[in-house]
Amino acid sequence: MTEDSTTTVAPAPVEVQKGWAGQSVKRREDKRLLQGEGVFVDDIKRHGMGYLHFVRSPYAHAHITRIDVSAAEAVDGVYGTLTGEEVAALTDPFFQISSAPGANIKDYSLALGKVRFVGEPVVAVVAETRELARDASELVEVDYEPLAAVVDARHAQDADAPVLHDDAEGNLMWTGLYSWGDLDAAFAEADRVIEIPELHFHRFNSTPLECDGALVEFNRGVEQWTIHTNNQFPGFAAIMMGPAMKVGLDKLRFVTQDIGGGFGNKITSHPQLVVCCLLARKLNRPIQWTEWRTDFHLSMSHGNERWFRDTKVAVKDDGTLLGFRTKALDDAGAWLRYEPLGGVIWAQVTPGMYRWRHIELDFTQVATNKAPVSPNRGYSRMQHLWFTERVIDIVAKELDLDPVEVRKKNYIRAEDMPYETPNGCVYDSGDYARMLDLALELIDYDAMAGRKAAAKEQGKLLGVGIGSTLDSGTNNFGQSRLINPELQFSGNNEVATVKLDIFGEIVVTLGTTPQGQGHETTAAQVVADILNCALEDVHVRAGHDSYWNSHAGFSGTYASQFAVTGLSAVKGATEMLRDEIFKLAGAVFGGVPAEALELADGGIRIKENPDAFLPFMACGAIINANNAGLPEDLDVTLNCRYVYRPPFEVPDVETKFGNLTLTYAAQLHVAVVEIDPETGYYEIVDYAAVDDCGKRINPQIVEGQVMGATAQAIGAVIHETYEYDEDGNLLTPNFYDYHVPHALDMPPLATGAIESPSPFTPLGTKGMGEGGGAGIHAVCAAIQDATGVVVTDSHNPYRRVWEMLR
């Protein structure tokens, strides 16, 4: 960061804003968080609760030959234990999303008979204190018979590779061929075919600062669990847990309040939550589970590692891109906890930002003896977009063309929008060329030639790189059928309720589980605009409770969708409430039609006679507590629930064609790096990030998401990696070895924004927040520009740059 470390440029306010939407209203969540009064899951305590600690596998692959918990259970203050055998007796394996062979694996919430990665939970121990639970875990005896491990996905299908899941008869979990357009014609038409043998996208994740956790209570009388948790997608956890535990979803109550970051990494804690539930029932006491940092790194939600092999790109000499063929090999780790959905999610952004029409991608996902992968900010699209951007820069280098020009020549143009991609996704709006111009302006691109020369004089190498993200948001869950045609999911939904309570309180309940995205604030902005009232009069409940009637099948906060699904639900419910207030006032005023009424000053009045005013308080009181004499046919409850359902069709399973998400926000990043060729050390000396997420309800919150994703990108490309040794030991199991950037690591940042409102969403908004992939590529491209060496990996620590220069 330099003296003036951030510059915000918003060159094109699309319209002059009236009301709250569009304003950078200060967040209402902040007061409690700034005073240490947030309620995070580990803050919750219950009388008599026991602390849970997991005994974890020290081996990447081994048979379990004996488990003896007696010494641990004998310790004073230890309440009890749970083993895989007990889990298997009490639950069914988790439902598998995959078709065969992945469909055949049997996944329980504790290891059964075998361990498949270092850190896999084997036994759970519950004790009176955290410390005791941890100490007693050391007394659990587990005998293992170690097996050979497979760590490199490229060897997972070798004839002699150790097999993780005998039920799947090999390490292949899922495979699918995607082919659109006319590849043969494209390659026949090409002047050149550029071949790229192998590109590698590395394994890392966003490491939210708060680890996973839960406080689970079991109500024996009604046989119902209350799960206070920081799981960010309770809808998904519920459909995984209910069938496994053989109970209806009414028995599983999910409650969240403040969540210390999620980034997708807190979606797949359902196995641990099942263990907590079983122990709460077995031991008849509340169970508190909080991961230690090392537990998180060893076992939770690594991002998908992916290779792109044998890539062939059909291009014209002038840089026109026609199409490509590639083979994607994806490393799922030991279990399919959300996978193989990554095998289709990438297809939301099949062509990236470019107009090529002929694309073939052969996707294969294999199991390895590493932690299971699951969504990580930019889930599966990040890998694919990094690949497409890599292709652009490699093509530009091969053809000796300017990467800026190649991009501009091939970008989908503003006038092409809405644009149907080769696989039927419909990019709703955007202007990528303009975003690029703006980003280049922010780093003063015209000065680059001079700066490069000056750097050279100093013995340094300067380079500029471009990266992009298409932040596809609001999933059509019908895409899961491209993975497994048997699945009965499609569309999407989110719910909100808005009510006017007895003293006129406007109370809003969301189905979402925010982790810092400011939903309480932005929801209030939308409500206050519709009810034409003060922002302070809108009370948005913090967090989520599946017993609040604001829970839909896809409720949660994930996959860039709140600005569409969440806020559209809020809008719908508030409009219902508004209409009811009109109806009620019309009746109270003795048959005044709605057109003659208006909302103002926290109430409703007759336009022509503002003295005839019914404050919201009166409305709430009349309906809730003073309703005698109202017309019998007055159908008003002032308690409105709306489920927003985006317009989707089920994609065609045969052709793998259809619209997979509703909105396509975009980010364009440009990085300037300066490399010391002697050591490989490099610094990002300038950085620009331009965002377009349609209409922004709260620009400051949007910018915060851009910044956060940028920082994660910088961390990923330079420092962050989950690297394993050949025996399957994780080399970066804590923040000591896994270096997360800190304040001094941050480059100067300039942000900019344009607004291309979505024509498909009720508020013109698009989901956003997952723009980090753009930054990973921008830095890779800048390194390539500076060194002249093709960058083939998404992870480029100084050592690797040094090696590139040798």
Partner: protein, 150 residues
């Protein structure tokens, strides 16, 4: 072991397991859950508190080591429930998202500004270097602290 500490002006005497970390003592035994835990290794600073005037990571200290000490935590920095200028500045500059790192950030910034009311940009960043934030990228945190520095 018997431990007596004063936290935000209130004195607490407790019998404590010798192996208990100060952060767990504050959170589990004293119910002061404002200070957080983000790592096992002293790297993240979510647990930062001020002990006898010195900024420390409370996961790097045993509770028994704090016997007799006077401790300040995030719960103690507001005055009469009102946000201090530093806290307000965090709100103004959108210096927090999930808010999990925030208590530690506030304690580090508080310690800095007490020692040095007019820190340079580099001094601000250095003071925050021991605190990890995974949400904001630090730019806005830096701006928030800078805005209240003299």
């Amino acid at each position: 072991m018997d431990v007596s500490v004063t936290v935000n002006g209130t004195t607490y005497a407790r019998d404590v397991e010798p192996r208990k970390l100060l952060i767990h003592f504050l959170r589990d035994d004293l119910d002061l859950t404002g200070s957080h835990i983000g790592c096992d290794t002293g790297n993240c600073g979510a647990c930062s508190v001020i002990v006898d005037g010195v900024l420390v990571k409370s996961c790097m200290l045993l509770a028994v080591q704090a016997d007799g000490a006077s401790i300040e935590t995030v719960e103690g920095i507001s005055e009469n429930g009102e946000l201090t200028p530093l806290q307000q500045s965090f709100n103004e500059h959108h210096a927090l998202q999930c808010g999990y790192c925030t208590p530690g950030m506030l304690m580090s910034a508080t310690a800095l500004l007490r020692d040095n009311a007019s820190p340079s940009d580099a001094e601000i960043k250095k003071a925050l270097q021991g605190n990890i934030c995974r949400c904001t990228g630090y730019w806005n945190i830096f701006e928030a602290v800078k805005a209240v520095a003299k």
